[in-house]
Subunit: 705 residues, 2 copies
């Protein structure tokens, strides 16, 4: 639940920053799995001590061959192990004897092959831990550190050309994806500090790589490719660390669809999990989620070129009215605020260019080709008039023109100098060296203005996520829930005590008590069978609604208890819960459910088909702030229903937020003893009608480990 | 409503295929608006007769200068007019005298400047029509035909390098967007047959360009950029023509957002209109709508390289399990069917590669690097096992490898030969000349597999749109509706006669009649004030629901009539409509509304918040087929609600489709006298409960022109 999980990332330095490397299974043939890393290390000039281990050779690729690790007689930080699966256990013993610090294990034949392989992998992990060896793999492509000539990989990708050393760290669970991403980074001109693949993750997980990068002084931006996570707290801690250090994490996680999740699970034997919960995790830590390989690279490159915008206002500048309209469409879709210029600024622009569109988008028209000074004048006017968080200029193919290029370069330089807090972006066609020149000024460059806008919209998220853990109002003392379902009465009592507004209700044990309750209550009444053993009361015919009078209540009591007894003869039944019918309002649903990987997740949505069928729900990890709670309500697609659309009454959003906070506090107090708590329905009403109220609830406890 | 609009596209040949060209306002300076087209025509080798018109020069760019058009003394197919607005009327008279066939008018200062300009433009259009001159512009960048060296433009874009002649025709309402698209086409290597911008569209509209391209034997694929359309029937006819000729139209239309629509409207003074109606238009004619510049080019390039897939099944092939999972996610999002291979084929793949994922996506793993023959064997096995409509292979950076390239090329060749009906695509990094080589084989090539899948999903639409006009069951004789709103009784009667199932109802004129109706009906009853003058009965307190007995009905009658009389003292009131309350079912809404540009549009959605607030409605142009009607129901985001999700009863979809067809038939019969007809609610129920039934309806007639 909290992010106090402590990483021992210092021990990863032996792995990722080795002063000495031994290649076990070293081959003389540079194309073999045991030859490739040695070839790279020699060819690209690794500066530390380098040893070859091969019991059947005297020299390998010019190096003396050692019979085994323990025979080297000098410290080995990293052993690169390229031997068949059957020999791995022996190598591990040898490494333990030689006090090797860390190991990259390429060999396959472990968890990816079934249960025998899983057992072998677990034994391997245990032995490595005993011996104090950090292990990356098995079944992985290894890693590289381009700035340090460390090539602990047999990927052919570096053979096709080296990636530039740089300040982006990249970790991938998939080797093949990682190799592709290496090539894409090279083609795109991105510079990498680390490239690592984690394979079966017997020891080092994606999260460990993230945490190490979060602390690496040579890394500014982190790219991660993930198929699934088995250790939620460790991933959360790593993401928290990156956030704390102000390093944007760009995440490509597969499995948004059922088929994709199944494909990912069959690929890695990892738990694909509920993709919507991953979204909640990413949101919590300000992770930028990429939904395509193109976006993965665009977001990472952008985050490494410029600082994220401080807010969502954007100035759009164009030499084409049509593209201006497209940009306005794209900005709307990206949730950016295309705030209009002041009247004075608009008048000034119209004075300069009579047929300009001066509002925002600002279209200075083809007129700019007659007077190049217009560009800088009008762009500076825009930024002086409104301190836009971002500014995007569309210049068509201008970047290809030798006449226009100096004007564009000078414009970007001037804007950068005078408006250092605004994220600058231009959309133009231009050759790579001109793109590099503008990017060196901290300006994003895109051919497609829509891609620029999607990227800016995503980057804006970084400043919207609180850096510190949200402070939770003291939730109160710990609660120990009994395992299993609790009756509606007990569930409502627990939630009411936690601060959830609940409908007045009372337990009636006989038909006469039910009749009396109806009389005392006045108005229409609901009766629901009450039993710890009956979670789904409607399913057993245990609910009667809209009871108008005592006679109706009396008959209903007998009927629903008879129904329940017939359906569940063994159940202990407390009686029935009597409550007034709540009139009007909007049916909502609120709950906390334990995710097997990430723990308790808070959920809110509209009731009925909205949550169940349309999946229009918002999720958050705990703890939450009150702002989070309000954001959960506002981000529903159907929010307008609560917000008074089309003459409907606006419901009391504050009372919903308070209820969500109360539910979150209850979950915190119950800790590991809570399986789930669900309020369904939570009726949302206008403030003058009393705000929201829980009409039914079900709490399920669990055996804490 | 029908697509019988007849184009006189033959007269456009003088414009787009001129045998002789005169440049009016020709300048000796090749950088001036009157110098650029002449420079291009001379430099790039226009083969027809070429004349310069300039009363103040004797020679221009080496050509003799004529004082005016009429002084040329030879036929002029096309006059390129580059003079200030004040001289245009004179040039037009001159052109009429010289029997010029067509004209490109660059000059600005017309409708884009306000009402005076609009009047001038209308006068211009009238005079051109009288004189039999086809006119493109004013305020446009003109056009080019790369394969014929016709350069009737002052865009600087060709100066930066010429686009390849080819088989894609491109028409844009915006000059600046068009110029950018020209440069993008050049950089992307696309070949163009025509590039045209239509500017203010005094005469030639985007639709005329589309229609000309639809009939142009040198064009296979059409790209169009649109900001708005003033003549719906003309656009429909042009799109129908392109569809009939089997030429894919890729459309980039701005104005999906309110801000974008406002920006587009201010830019062109054209009617932005309801973007959802444009979507219905595009769907009707199988137009591929692009939502970004990137997609605009990807779709057009793809449509020109390969034929559209015949259906939605796709075989996914990968050398990376992770990317396989991403592709599965993307295919789900694109509505493609990743059908599994047969058990036998899966067994065969597992025999070849024990750890392959054999289902689909097929992941043959890195094993392929050890045995290159695996590639062809397994790909052919996939396609032999299932006749996939599309097949996409992911080969990472393989296209960069000199060793892998021949294998990849041979694979594509083999698959192309043996499976000519399957759309082939590969995702790999490769240099442009290798991409060209694969594209020449009819294989799509993308770096990002997700982009390939989105494109394939869009192309699949082409075969899903019926080519012929849907045959409408004979709708019956014409109906002439009176102008204005009709009472519920008259509305329901008209719709019932058209075949819409309506709830039994009767008009009661007195409280006693209301009481009697309640008695005879049994069950609960609704009473609604009935008047042609009162369209919104609830707003005047004219509705009483759930009336249980005669006494209640009697009182309610008096109350709602008093309410209505008080609210609308002048209204003639017929009485009240009595009808039984319909229990259960799902509230839907169905209607026909006249769009000012495109005419009647059929609408269907769920009632309440779904249609009004969430905008979850489907739209179709008329006429429709029964399949269209069913598709309208199925494409709702909330379709699962009707389809029996989560244990709900499944409603009778056939009766909804029949009702939509009946409504469409009614609209056809009423023709231009129908403003709108709306059924709200249409209660959808299971077949055994009687299917759907209209509970309230409002028909509004209009003065037909």
């Amino acid at each position: 639940m909290t992010d106090s999980h402590c990483f021992d990332t210092s021990r990863l330095d032996a792995l990722f920053a080795p002063r000495s490397i031994a290649v076990v299974g070293a081959s003389d043939q540079a194309s073999k799995i045991g030859g490739i890393p040695l070839d790279y290390l020699l060819r690209f000039g690794y500066g530390g001590a380098l040893y070859a281990v091969n019991p059947r050779a005297s020299r390998v690729q010019g190096l003396p061959a050692h019979e085994r690790l323990a025979a080297i007689g000098a410290p080995v930080d990293l052993a690169i192990v390229a031997v068949p699966q059957s020999q791995v256990a022996g190598v591990l013993e040898d490494a333990a004897a030689a006090r090797v610090q860390s190991m990259v294990l390429f060999s396959s034949g472990y968890a990816e092959t079934g249960s025998d392989g899983t057992a072998a992998q677990q034994a391997l992990a245990r032995r490595a831990q005993e011996a104090g060896i950090r292990l990356i793999g098995p079944n992985c492509l290894g890693f590289m550190r381009p700035g340090h000539q460390v090539y602990a990989t047999f990927s052919p990708a570096p053979g096709g050309g080296l990636v530039r050393p740089g300040r982006i760290g990249m970790v991938s669970q998939s080797g093949a994806f990682g190799a592709y991403a290496y090539s894409l980074a090279r083609e795109r001109g991105l510079g990498l500090s680390l490239w690592a693949t984690t394979g079966n993750e017997a020891d080092v997980q994606l999260a460990d790589g993230l945490a190490w990068l979060a602390q690496d002084p040579e890394t500014d931006v982190i790219m991660a490719y993930m198929e699934g996570c088995r250790d939620g707290p460790r991933l959360r801690a790593a993401l928290a660390l990156a956030q704390e250090r102000g390093k944007p994490v760009v995440m490509c996680k597969v499995g948004t669809s059922a088929l994709g999740a199944a494909a990912a699970a069959s690929h890695t034997a990892s738990l694909a999990g509920n993709d919507a919960v991953y979204d909640a995790v990413f949101r919590r830590y300000g992770v930028l989620r990429a939904h395509s390989i193109t976006d993965f690279f665009a977001l990472a490159a952008s985050a490494s070129i410029a600082r994220a915008p401080k807010g969502r206002s954007i100035g759009l500048f164009t030499v084409s009215g049509g593209v201006g309209a497209m940009m306005a469409d794209d900005a709307s879709a990206a949730g950016l605020d295309v705030a209009p210029l002041s009247d004075a600024a608009q008048r000034q622009l119209r004075e300069w260019v009579p047929f300009a569109a001066p509002r925002n988008p600002v279209d200075i028209t083809g007129q700019v080709t007659n007077d190049m000074t217009l560009l800088e004048r009008s762009a500076r006017l825009m930024l002086a008039d409104r301190q836009f968080d971002s500014w995007l200029g569309f210049f068509a193919a201008g970047g290809l023109s030798d006449a226009f290029w100096p004007v564009l370069q000078s414009l970007v330089q001037t804007l950068r100098t005078h408006h250092p807090d605004t994220l600058l972006a231009v959309s133009t066609l231009c050759p790579p060296e001109r793109r590099d020149a503008l990017e060196a000024l901290g300006c994003l460059v895109f051919a497609d203005p829509g891609a620029a806008i999607r990227c800016i919209g995503a980057l804006a998220r970084l400043h919207e996520t609180p850096q510190a853990l949200p402070a939770m109002a003291d939730a109160g003392s710990a609660l120990h829930l009994p395992a299993g379902t609790l009756s509606e009465q007990r569930s409502m009592a627990l939630l009411a005590e936690a601060g959830v507004p609940v409908v007045p209700h009372r337990l009636v044990r006989t038909a006469a008590e039910a009749a009396q309750a109806a009389q005392e209550m006045g108005g229409r009444m609901a009766l629901k069978v009450c039993s710890d053993a009956i979670a789904h009361k409607s399913d057993v015919g245990g609910v009667a609604l809209n009871l108008a009078d005592a006679a109706g209540a009396q008959a209903a009591f007998d009927r629903i208890l008879a129904n329940a007894r017939q359906a569940r003869p063994d159940a202990h039944i407390d009686g029935a819960l009597a409550a007034p019918m709540v009139q009007g309002g909007v049916e909502c649903i609120a709950g906390v459910h334990r995710d097997p990987v990430f723990g308790p997740v808070l959920m809110f949505g509209l009731g009925g088909i909205h949550a169940e069928i349309l999946r229009d729900v918002s999720l958050r990890l705990l703890p939450i702030t009150r702002d989070d709670a309000l954001a959960m309500v506002r981000e529903l697609r159907a929010f307008a229903v609560l917000d008074g659309a089309r003459g409907r009454p606006r419901v009391d959003l504050d009372s919903i937020a308070d209820t969500l906070c109360a539910l979150a506090g209850f979950a915190q107090r119950a800790g590991a003893t809570l399986e789930s708590a669900e309020i369904n329905p939570l009726i949302a009403r206008p403030r003058e009608d009393g705000g929201c109220v829980a009409v039914d609830a079900l709490v399920i406890g669990r055996e804490a480990a």
